[in-house]
Symmetry: C2
Subunit: 217 residues, 2 copies
Amino acid sequence: MILTITAFERSPDRGKGLARDMRVRWALEEAGQAYQVRLVSFEAMKAPAHLALHPFGQIPTYEEGDLVLFESAAIVFHIAERHAGLLPADADARARAITWMFAALNTVEPPILDLQTARFAEGDKPWSEQRLPLVKDRIRVRLRELSNRLGDADWLDGAFSAGDLMMVAVLLRLKPSGLLDEFPRLSAYVARGEARPAYQRAFAAQLAVFTAQSAGG
Amino acid sequence: MILTITAFERSPDRGKGLARDMRVRWALEEAGQAYQVRLVSFEAMKAPAHLALHPFGQIPTYEEGDLVLFESAAIVFHIAERHAGLLPADADARARAITWMFAALNTVEPPILDLQTARFAEGDKPWSEQRLPLVKDRIRVRLRELSNRLGDADWLDGAFSAGDLMMVAVLLRLKPSGLLDEFPRLSAYVARGEARPAYQRAFAAQLAVFTAQSAGG
């Protein structure tokens, strides 16, 4: 069964690994699953053929025979359920790992998405500069709470899981802002994620897309 | 096994059912599971005893014997995995239902949370009035896409699932804004959710907390 995911033809982050296909690539690498990638232009993303796969016209999507999934976390979870290494076997530990996936996406990421809105979508607005400190402070609240919970542990709940994968991927978006540096435990946590061989392979694969596109013109 | 969840002692929405314990109550009612509720004050939510249950100092939490979960979607998913009625038996349909859960939380809810930030956290800022239309337009983009996908179907993917429960709960937050009325298919979809007997029981239970508190002074 050939797995196919979609990714940006030209990623807005220029190969920094912050686009959401990276989360899926990383999970596939942790699971040792081969996959192929179909690149999609911004125009094609909003066209009917892609909207049939992804109702919100985004990447990534995931095709496995007749099954079509969208939403990176749902794809990561699908992979995690079918392969060892991303969810613990113990039922309670598994439920806690899933809890961290949801916490990453619904508690930690929303204020981080707001920072992107403040910087890019509203970067030219008159309130932009005044608003930025408020947005950053809301992120700091979450980072402080997360750092307190993590403490001196390597991962959020024992062994590395899909919960850590998702949390590290969400926190990585903060790298350009410098906010992560204010929380040394979280910086070290993210660095542990990035050091995983599966992360490295996934990062190289998405960077290769950017490099090839740049060379091609 | 007694299940215990936590909820606001005094919900900021004054019993409108928009607090996140409602999502868990609804899922428990769909699953036919009895539960007890421990009410938590805003002060207690940020104290060590509650932070041990919920690292971000919020409600709801879920206690089932030794298992402690937080994050409403994770709790809903935990319930859905263990009881009939919230996730389809077919593997592909199940994966799609889970996809809609994640889509509700990470694609549809973030711009809606931003509306709450704009209205409340930044309601007194000089940019508040000018910014509101931008925030609303970002929500409209998502609502249009969702409405297009839903079409004339009753639910997002065949039978009612935890994906619908989560999506309806997220969309309900828009009711006071009037935005939902611009999308008749979505208004009708939300109304179908609210009409479910399990929703009604959950709503009555959370309202009873507000009513009792108000009567008590």
